[in-house]
Subunit: 223 residues, 2 copies
DNA sequence: TCAAAGTCTTAAGGAGGACTTAAGGTGTCC
DNA sequence: GGACACCTTAAGTCCTCCTTAAGACTTTGA
């Protein structure tokens, strides 16, 4: 039976991205674009809730408080607010995890995976592949011990590839998930980002081209 | 009792390919070349629907939305559109799976199989046969642990043979399903691809010639 | 064994996908 | 408002790989 995640997120872009990511990872996803209280039936039919706290109208904390009256379903909280008072309130009210926006979709996925105890897509901790070390949480990359400065998009693309070592990731998916969705010429833009990424990483064939498909991260990943 | 799949696909080439694949795998296939709403009787008489979203005239999403009013039949959605907004909409409207075009016919088959035969959780894993490992999802092949670089067509042909170990696959079918349909001299082209494939795989008789018929994958497939 | 049909191999051509560089534009920080 | 960083676009070049062609080789059936 496929595990079911309820996503409550009003922002279309973020919601789309998260839903897509979870879906691809094999979860069934129900996406509510408005904040409203979770009924007991829904709560018992999903295995996890991803809840954005900064919803218009309903306060996310109210939803959280309410659902805790009758359900123990794990709730992973998203918030643009980074102040720890808000965070601790959420955790005290029964949230199981807290992710600040902006976040890497893969980081969220890793946390969902961890919470549901599935075989992890990646192990916790930095990813290491040869001279490369990628720390998803810190959004930092080191190459031969030296810190490498990557832009947000570059890091996102690299991370997306690195958490799926040996697997081809399509150009279309990368464009959808890591480039501006409101622009048109995404395919060429992706070329440029990959090109720069390779140059910064010494161009040792770490990112392979899969002709006609996309790219693949090469190198054995040792947690 | 043979399981019945309803295929809604306007593109003749793709439709033929998919229908053929499913039929060979033992499914009864009904193929609609036009998008129109699915009546309750039809919905209840098939075990799965493969629905192309990019139909002329009727919007595939409307068909999906409509059928969900009265039926829980699994719907596997095909689309040439790779933008995830469309995809997410489809999934929210009740699609059970989503495959982007272009796709490997065998991948589609694997997903249909997964949904109808195997009680989930087990995603189609890599095919292993002796020193050879073929990962359909990752579009990757390893030989004696070493990654082997195959082109898209080569990979498609190998996969088509490998998922039918010991079974002769006709040249005509391979040409129809894995070569450019707009070209003429397909038979000779197939020769070339098979030749290259053998060379890359060490030419250990993995791909046998069945004279006058086609080719056969040799080796016991585990997993 | 011989002829005919089928298959294998190598090399070359061309179409389309991918890479690189440079420049434009947008947003952010001070 | 100005400087800066960064994403995107454009354009030209490079390169991969599907296809075709041609000839050698293998199998089949008489």
């Amino acid at each position: 039976m496929r595990q079911h995640v309820l996503l409550i997120e009003d922002d279309a872009t973020v919601g789309r991205q998260v839903a897509d990511h979870l879906q691809r990872a094999g979860y069934a996803v129900t996406w509510w674009t408005e904040g409203c209280l979770i009924d007991p039936h829904t709560a018992s039919s999903v295995q996890l809730v991803v809840l954005d706290l900064t919803l218009p109208g309903t306060d996310g904390l109210d939803i959280l408080k309410d659902v805790r009256c009758f359900s123990e379903v794990p709730v992973l909280v998203l918030s643009a607010r980074t102040d720890s008072s808000y965070k601790t309130r959420a955790l005290r009210l029964g949230a199981d995890d807290f992710v600040s926006k902006p976040f890497w979709p893969d980081e969220l996925l890793a946390r969902v995976d961890a919470r549901l105890r599935r075989p992890l897509l990646r192990r916790p901790g930095p990813i290491e592949a040869g001279p490369l070390r990628i720390d998803l949480e810190a959004a930092a990359v080191h190459f031969n011990g030296e810190p490498v400065h990557l832009t947000a998009v570059e890091f996102g693309i690299l991370a997306a590839l690195a958490v799926r070592p040996g697997q081809a990731v399509t150009r279309g998916w990368l464009v959808d998930n890591h480039l501006d969705p409101h622009r048109a010429g995404g395919a060429r833009t992706l070329d440029v980002h990959v090109s720069r990424l390779r140059k910064k990483l010494g161009d040792q064939g770490i990112i392979e081209t899969v002709f006609g498909i996309g790219y693949r991260f090469r190198g054995s990943v040792t947690s």
